[in-house]
């Protein structure tokens, strides 16, 4: 761990000014990922701005009937919040599928969005990694790539975003409220995380001098038809190989609107609105779900150790849709 300086901000304005004033500054809240990375020299911020005292922990209804999650609400408080459990159970389930109870007690909602990839090479400073050290190369492409991307990757980086929560937020089309020196703005979740392209060092479109203040959920929570399905190598405390967040708006057995987001397959939660649209006005059935699953993985490319994810994603999408639509598995040719 490299030496660093530390200040504690009292309000959003001073936090933003601290972050923009100090070169190489990072914001720290729960610290569940940042501190680990600092200890092994993967991240080397010269200055930390502690924002844990900011009044951003509340979860409250918006004027439009949605819900505003304070940036500093913990993952645990969010998952077990009455409004979230009742109106956005998809989000609650996704959060509880991630990490451990101890980590969720400490980790914040904004921090969850900003966690770094779990690529083995990103974590080992004795290996090449374009995300950690731009220009050094990607060790994962020809290395061990079991937890890596099958969609949206580039020749520079095949890392995945590890969050479960973000996958649910993508399906819920959340909006991220941020504040910077120029004031406030809102970023749709779809535009928040980036694909690696030739700048894999940038995980998100959040500017270096901006901080997240809240995550806004629209009134549409898909509380009747939802699923968060997570496949992983053990039943807890493992990152998703493939996860699927599904929210369906249904009338009888007809789908009005479908939202599907995949985790563990790309550098960001993966949506495919065109494929989702295939379900609009369709009956909920395995026959109708299969083409959507196929469309989702169209163009996917795997590597030595993760090609199985393509088929796993396909099957997981079908399974998640069946569960969300309450379609009886066994009466549909299964």
């Amino acid at each position: 761990m490299k030496p660093f300086t530390y200040t504690r901000a009292d309000d959003v304005t001073s936090a933003v000014s601290e972050v923009s004033r100090q070169e190489g500054a990072k914001v720290i809240a729960g610290g569940t990922n940042l501190l680990d990375l600092m200890k092994i020299d993967v991240m080397q911020p010269r200055h930390l701005v502690d924002i844990t005292r900011l009044a951003l922990t509340t979860i409250e209804k918006t004027a439009e009937g949605g819900l505003l999650l304070g940036a500093l609400a913990t993952n645990a408080d969010t998952a077990y919040h009455e409004q979230v459990e009742q109106r956005y159970p998809l989000l609650s389930h996704a959060i509880l599928a991630g990490a451990t109870a101890q980590l969720r007690n400490k980790a914040t909602d904004a921090g969850n969005l900003l966690q770094r990839t779990r690529c083995y090479y990103f974590y080992d400073t004795h290996t090449a990694c374009n995300k950690r050290e731009p220009g050094t190369g990607c060790s994962a492409i020809h290395g061990y790539n079991r937890n890596h991307a099958i969609l949206g990757h580039s020749e520079h980086c095949i890392a995945t975003h590890p969050s479960d929560m973000a996958v649910a937020l993508a399906a819920l089309e959340a909006r991220i409220h941020v504040t910077g020196p120029q004031g406030e703005r809102t970023i749709p979740i779809a535009d928040f995380h980036r694909l690696p392209g030739d700048t894999p060092e940038k995980d998100t479109n959040l500017a270096d001098d901006e901080i997240i203040t809240a995550i806004e959920l629209s009134p549409k929570g898909f509380a009747r038809h939802y699923t968060y399905l997570k496949n992983r190598d053990r039943a807890s405390y493992a990152f998703a190989l493939v996860s699927v967040a599904v929210g369906l708006d249904m009338e009888g057995d007809t789908i009005q609107e479908a939202r599907i987001a995949l985790g563990g397959v790309a550098h960001k939660p993966w949506r495919n609105p065109e494929a989702e649209a295939l379900l609009t006005g369709k009956k909920a059935s395995r026959e109708n779900f299969q083409p959507v699953a196929d469309a989702y993985v169209h163009g996917a490319k795997g590597f030595e150790h993760n090609s199985f994810k393509i088929e796993l994603a396909r099957r997981s999408i079908v399974r998640a849709l069946m569960q969300a639509a309450h379609v009886d598995q066994n009466s549909n040719g299964n």
Binding site: M1, K2, P3, K39, I40, D41, R118, Y120, Y121, Y123, D124, H126, T127, S139, H142, G143, Y144, N147, N231, D233, R234, A235, S236, Y237, A238, F239, L241, F308, E311, L312, R315, S316, V318, R319, Q329, N330, N334
Partner: protein, 739 residues
């Protein structure tokens, strides 16, 4: 022996200390002026250090020294000085010996500073330039170069018996398959650490994470040329080791070197990634060819083993003894070859060779049972063995039939449908699998000492270890029972090189070995107490032989007339003794030579496999163990549970992934090296079947450290086959292999 301590589910006598933080581990001994060392690890797998620039690190205020191969003190020069009690044949790795790099993450420097944080920071400033050389870390690429070592660390493979090739050719049913498992690391919760305390005048006290303090002491004496009286090693608590603490690891070398050089106490604790920089269970590939007659008689076993080792030591473990132990078979041939790689030498890991060999054999046997068309339990019983064919000796005891019977009954095995993919529940395929296993029940020589005070307090001691298994507790129970004292009056001391000698804690032999020494020393104490009583002429014990007295309720009394009794405290006071001390050395009996002592087990497993997604859940495990006399059903059960949990990990999760671009284990933390979590472990039932064994050792115990794990992975693999119809022969069985 009326206190009935043996066989009681006694709580751990050190339990309170552990849960309240009073039990201190190697890195928790704080002394005045303690300095902290952080190890710099190599970034390459093989080559030479061209240049190491430590100047920037040394400029950090608070840094005391940076030790490298250039400025290290003079060390012993012979291999023998570095060879510890568990060293395989070869030339042991010597830290900071020269500029050569022999494996990735090799320790190449030690930065010592006033605080841990400063040392860690300064370590990141050490700049190293390497000349790299070609290396080989790809097992499959090197397998054609596999060789027979000049000397085996493990049992030398027995000569073939019968006519295995012919029998195989003529067999009605055959299986010929290859099974493999990857390298795996021990990963105990407590990382390896040493606190070396400078006592002045060249004397040191060392707190080390080790499974036998005498091994560390000998190593320090050999490497640094210290006299025995100048180095005392202590290891009162060990936070798990599973074999990783059988050999002194390099943090011991580093801490002692720095302490002797700086004349100041130094602590060195390894990081979790550095826990992947030394011994591990070796990647092993096994070719098994089995043949059976139409009636299910096992006609032939041919078992060829290829296992990883380093370039500098020939590590081998008992992979090939199992065909001769588990089944009766008249035609057997085995071989064991080593595959040299540029890695650190592998190291015994819980049931070394047993988990490996039994995994492959029990999967192959299962495959054969399907070919023959017999129930897997029936097939195993049909080929039941009562003799160890490797040694051509009868087993000292073997209640495995009872394990099958009780295990099958509790599990409900009779309701199993024989066909694969014939049991399901929604989208889950259900599979039931079985495997049996064995582990050696060895007794080694061991010393012990007993001190009884006039206040009635009994202290028994031996230099053994408690790696979390319950040694403190069971030894206290044995001593309390022998002397007829309440367990609260007994203290057992271990983990101190000044105590009577004892072997490394490993091989499941501690209960039998140290337990026998404790029993013996207490018997001698009893004799001495009787002699003491007989010193006065009017003693009612005057004519009594030792077999005529008993120790119970804190008294010595005549068996025939319990009114003739004297409290032990009074006996000492009457004779003006503050205390009585005795030492004893126990050895295995000659009779044991004529028998082959093993513990046995049968494991029944239910898995549920998601037909579409491939996820595997081990929903039920019943394990029935024949482990001789059970000293403490509570700690015994915990041992077996731990073995089952680890078996789940071995079957489904564990893999140290070698990246050949770097020749480096790459998933070197507990987020990515998966061991089972609570959510992976469901119903586990442990049965101990009654087993009397008067040969194995005076206590009749067999040891339980390893029998719990050996047959879990194959039982799971066999259950996965029964569920899915897919044979996965390379561990771990991850979802992609079955979906």
């Amino acid at each position: 022996m009326a206190t009935n301590q043996i066989g009681k589910p006694q709580n751990r006598v050190d339990g309170r200390d552990k849960v309240t933080g009073q039990a201190r581990y190697a890195a928790e001994f704080n002394v005045k002026d303690l300095a902290y060392g952080v190890v710099v690890s190599s970034a390459i797998a093989k080559g030479r250090i061209k240049e190491m620039d430590t100047s920037e690190a040394l400029r950090v205020e608070g840094v005391l020294e940076v030790f490298t191969s250039e400025n290290r003190p003079k060390l012993a020069s012979y291999d023998t000085s570095f060879q510890d009690e568990d060293a395989p044949p070869g030339s042991p790795f010597r830290p900071l010996f020269n500029r050569d790099v022999l494996f990735n993450m090799q320790p190449i420097a030690l930065v010592v500073a006033e605080t841990y944080e400063l040392a860690r920071y300064a370590a990141s400033l050490v700049k190293v330039e390497y000349e790299t050389e070609e290396y080989a870390t790809d097992f499959e690429k090197e397998r054609p170069n596999a060789y027979v070592p000049e000397e085996y660390k493990s049992t030398t493979p027995p000569d073939p018996w019968g006519k295995p090739e012919t029998a195989l050719k003529e067999a009605e049913h055959k299986v010929a398959e290859e099974y493999s498992h990857p390298s795996q690391h021990h990963n105990p919760m407590e990382m390896h650490a040493t606190t070396a305390v400078w006592e002045g005048d060249g004397r040191i006290t060392v707190y080390d994470k080790i499974q036998g303090v005498l091994n560390s002491q000998e190593y320090i004496m050999g490497v640094f040329g210290l006299a025995k009286e100048d180095v005392r090693v202590l290891s009162p608590f060990v936070g798990g080791a599973f074999g990783s603490g059988l050999r002194p690891q390099y943090q011991l070398f580093m801490a002692v070197m720095a302490t002797l050089e700086l004349k100041r106490s130094v602590r060195v604790a390894l990081t979790r990634p550095q826990m992947f920089s030394f011994g591990h269970r070796p990647k092993t590939v096994q070719q098994l060819s089995l043949g059976a007659a139409a009636d299910g008689t096992l006609e032939a076993v041919v078992h060829h083993v290829f296992a990883e080792t380093s370039r500098f030591e020939d590590y081998s473990e008992d992979v090939i003894i199992w065909p001769g132990v588990l089944y009766k078979c008249d035609n057997v041939k085995v071989s064991h070859k080593l595959v040299g790689l540029d890695v650190y030498t592998p190291l015994d890991m819980r049931a070394p060779g047993g988990t490996t060999g039994i995994y492959a054999l029990e999967c192959a046997i299962d495959e054969l049972s399907y070919k023959v068309g017999m129930d897997p339990v029936e097939f195993r019983l049909k080929n039941y063995s009562v003799r160890d064919q490797n040694e051509d000796k009868p087993f000292s005891s073997k209640e495995l039939r009872e394990c099958y019977r009780q295990g099958a009954e509790l599990f409900g095995w009779k309701d199993r449908k024989p066909q694969p993919r014939s049991m399901r529940e929604g989208h889950n395929l259900i599979g039931w699998g079985v495997a049996n296993g064995a582990w050696e029940a060895t007794q080694k020589p061991s010393g012990a000492k007993a001190v009884l005070t006039k206040e009635g307090k009994l202290t028994v001691s031996s230099a053994t270890a408690d790696i979390g298994t319950g040694t403190y507790t069971i030894m206290s129970q044995i001593a309390a029972e022998c002397m007829g004292l309440p367990i609260e009056a007994v203290e057992f001391k271990l983990g101190d090189s000044s105590l009577p000698q004892s072997p490394l804690e490993g091989g499941s032999w501690t209960a039998s070995t140290v337990g026998s020494a404790v029993k013996l020393v207490c018997e001698k104490l009893g004799e001495k107490l009787l002699e003491l009583a007989q010193e006065s002429d009017d003693s009612p014990f005057k004519e009594a032989g030792i077999e005529e007295v008993e120790f119970t309720d804190g008294q010595m009394r005549l068996k025939e007339n319990s009114s003739v009794a004297i409290p032990l405290t009074q006996l000492l006071r009457d004779n003006k003794k503050d205390n009585i001390q005795v030492e004893a050395e126990s050895k295995p009996s000659d009779e044991q030579e004529n028998y082959s002592p093993y513990s046995h087990s049968a494991v029944f497993v239910e898995v549920k496999v998601d037909e579409d997604l491939g996820t595997i859940k081990v929903t039920r495990v019943v394990t029935a163990v024949a482990g001789g006399r059970i000293l403490n059903p509570k700690t015994a059960r915990s041992q077996i549970l731990g073995g089952v949990v680890w078996g789940i990990g071995m079957a489904l999760e564990e893999e140290s992934v070698m990246d050949h671009q770097y020749g480096r284990f790459i998933n070197h933390d507990l987020a990515e090296y998966h061991v089972p979590v609570n959510a992976d472990v469901h119903d586990v039932e442990v049965i101990f079947v009654d087993e009397e064994d008067s040969i194995v050792n005076p206590l009749g115990v067999k040891g339980l450290g390893e029998i719990g794990i050996v047959s879990v992975a194959p039982a799971i693999a066999n259950a996965v086959y029964h569920a899915t119809g897919k044979r996965v022969r390379d561990l771990p069985i991850t979802l992609d292999k079955v979906m």
